[in-house]
Symmetry: C2
Subunit: 459 residues, 2 copies
């Protein structure tokens, strides 16, 4: 394992290995052997896609044959969570492997970053890209960033070799399309956005087919406003929302097909998931959380449990259904583990590696899962139990303090219908004590979401 | 095609065919060729299983690997309906291919048959079993009947060669287990019911492997009270409800495995579905309708749209997802069409054959779907539109007249959240006119559900 090698070191090391092997093994065999030590990794991250929006997760009229096939060839994760029910903190959790409370990427006043925000992901944070780049990976970010749009916070200053996308949500003005740090189109034509993102992703994969790479592919859709290309518009029975999701499904199919064509599919791990639940107040322009309660902005299951598929042909057992409690904060340690890189030891991480779960089907043992909203813990999951201290129906609804807290058994009651706190005072007590222990590990970092660009400066 | 041959005629005809072919073709090849003309048919019918209760329909913790594989090898039908949201009328619709309003198997006073009921499916009705038996099929009914428990109404007097099961719901006393017309156990031990039903079904299939057969396999579960065998009790994360559904899934696996072992799988069409939606008022002992609104007893989608899979290896294209509007009343014409039997012409049928949909993927073109509750039309579906005249949350809730009627676009809004009647007065008008045309075809038959056995007689 080559911990913390620079990319140049990696290439040098790989070259030496090949040279040293020429007598006993042909170069291709050596290359094939060397591959599994540093697999490529791709994270496809959709925006506001609900738990119930894929055919394989129960939607009756949205057609997602590529994602269904991805699940049939790989692993469907039915209890996979995000770090937050809204965009910016959710992405901070994914990128750093740490709850947003630990790095200031949350606030109780401004829930996400806006075009007038002056903050972003602190330089002291280590992203998956930073860690993997240091370890010899080529890194690319395609799509929505939303972790700060001032130059110092942009992907190319957070470990990515390159960036192509909209730096924040697609409903925020002036909707620039940015390449690295330069705006190349404003406002961006969103009709062709999924297609152009996909082309960028395919180009990066193809250019890096012979070296390890990490691609973070964060779609701007199905966040409103919805746009699909001419090939998809008006085609889905589910209307424009379905058109958009079906184009995302097409994009997934293109990525997997590209990996197969380049013969690097067996050496590439692909995760597909969403940043939070569906935006239920958008009428039919919003998605569905299926049997789960609530949606985006809510700490009910529908806000934070998202449709997730992992794919790694030849390694993940096909058609696996994993019901363990897993999270986007597990992606960082998983990627580092797969790459053979050591985890930084100077800070607290909230996830763990899923490598053995993917490779051998080992149970992912999570003791606790926290449902933060802003800086507050609204709910906690422990095994099948979920305790709610505060609930909130959706993004713009008012929070309701639950005193006494509400307790649900999620395995028996995934739709959170039956509060059984009164029957299980011991479980309630135990989880309350767990929360106190967790809080002792948290030193809230000053919020980065409330800083604003002075009005006379351009955002 | 041998329309309306008796079984003896069929065997005679088959014998002649084989004799005539001995010179040009070996007998086995002739038999193999003859097979597709009269495939075996199996209908597996569960009780109160909800749209969201299978893994392949989006349930996170109920494990249904056999049904998931059945869907992967066959066709998942995502818009398949029952003839009613409760047991007796739903089963009458399946068995006869006709809406219960046409044969008296509905009532606004007694929704289903009870142990003190004296009525049942009228002798004038033709069941799938009667039609197929006449056409040369061996016929068996295993499980719940619920179309009349007095001898004249029982399966063996409605076209079935044999019967083994509970004649009504498993929560009704005295819970007899009946073989043909004889009670063999009372009350029945329900823990082993799914296992014993399955053994009966396997026995029938094996005994009839060389001749065409029709098996109607109607499970008593997951209707409450719930019972699982020792192999399944306490095993599902979903609790007892999950145990019971996972045992049903095991049973499905056994049936498909038996067909494969006997090498008759390519000559057998299997349908799996449910009689109505989940019983939502049973707390965690009831199932889930997934993203659909309402459950058992309701004409919201959750009451009448059920998880359905069709399987016919070598004929149905694997992993097909069919989103056409289909129904249990289509099973009768489909079975007759597959058998090559002509439909009776002396009565009105409410379904049509799905043969071409199964064989070639041809779109099933249904003009209208009626949601009856008792003798009244509560709602109507036409294409993507659904118009509600009366709504009712669940089995024991009060009906609410909707005046003006509520209109939903089910393809865009499968959860029936957004009433858009005001925006589409033309659609509302059109459907109201369609209902009048339909009503003109209906001569309500006297209800069979209100007749009672005099109190001094044994039920």
């Amino acid at each position: 394992m080559h911990d913390y090698l620079t990319r140049r070191d990696y290439l040098k090391a790989a070259g030496l290995t090949l040279a040293a092997c020429t007598v006993s093994l042909p170069a291709t065999a050596a290359a094939a052997q060397a591959k599994p030590t540093m697999p490529n990794m791709i994270v496809i991250f959709t925006d506001d896609l609900g738990y119930g929006d894929l055919s394989s997760f129960g939607h009756p009229t949205i057609r997602t044959p590529n994602l269904d096939r991805m699940a049939a060839e790989g692993m469907k994760l039915t209890q996979f969570y995000t770090a937050s029910a809204v965009c910016t903190p959710s992405r901070a959790g994914l990128m750093t492997g740490r709850l947003p409370i630990r790095n200031g990427m949350c606030s109780d006043k401004r829930r996400v970053l806006f075009p007038d925000s002056a903050g972003g992901l602190p330089k002291t944070e280590i992203t998956i890209a930073t860690a993997l780049k240091k370890h010899g990976y080529a890194t690319s970010c395609v799509g929505k960033w939303h972790l700060g749009h001032l130059p110092e916070f942009m992907p190319t200053n957070h470990g990515f070799d390159e960036y192509f996308g909209i730096p924040y949500s697609n409903d925020m003005k002036p909707s620039p399309l940015v390449k690295n740090l330069e705006t190349i189109e404003e406002p961006v034509d969103q009709h062709t956005l999924t297609k152009r993102y996909t082309a960028q992703a395919e180009r990066f994969i193809t250019a890096n087919k012979d070296k390890p790479f990490f691609l973070y592919f964060a779609h701007s859709f199905p966040h409103v406003p919805l746009f699909a290309s001419k090939d998809f518009e008006g085609k889905s029975p589910r209307g424009l929302y379905g058109d958009v999701v079906e184009e995302l499904d097409w994009s997934v199919g293109r990525i997997l097909e590209t990996l197969k064509k380049l013969n690097i599919d067996k050496n590439t791990v692909v995760f597909f998931t969403s940043d939070n639940g569906p935006w239920l107040t958008c009428n039919i322009r919003g998605g569905s959380a299926g049997l789960l309660r609530g949606g985006k902005g809510s700490t009910w299951e529908g806000g934070m449990r998202v449709p997730t598929v992992a794919w790694w042909p030849g390694t993940i057992k096909p058609a696996t259904i994993n019901t363990d409690i897993t999270s986007t904060v597990d992606i960082f340690p998983t990627c580092l583990d797969l790459a053979g890189a050591a985890m930084p030891t100077d800070r607290i991480y909230d996830g763990f590696s899923l490598k053995e779960t993917l490779v051998s089907g080992t149970k992912a043992e999570r003791e606790l899962l926290f449902y933060y909203r802003g800086t507050k813990i609204y709910a906690v999951r422990k095994g099948p139990w979920k305790l709610h201290f505060i609930t909130q129906a959706g993004y713009r609804d008012k929070p309701h303090k639950q005193d006494p807290p509400m307790l649900f058994h999620l395995d028996h009651d995934p739709s959170e219908k039956y509060n059984i706190a009164a029957k299980h005072p011991d479980v309630v007590e135990e989880i309350i004590a767990d929360v106190e222990k967790h809080k002792a590990t948290v030193k809230p970092f000053p919020t980065q979401l409330e800083k604003r660009i002075p009005k006379n400066k351009k955002g």
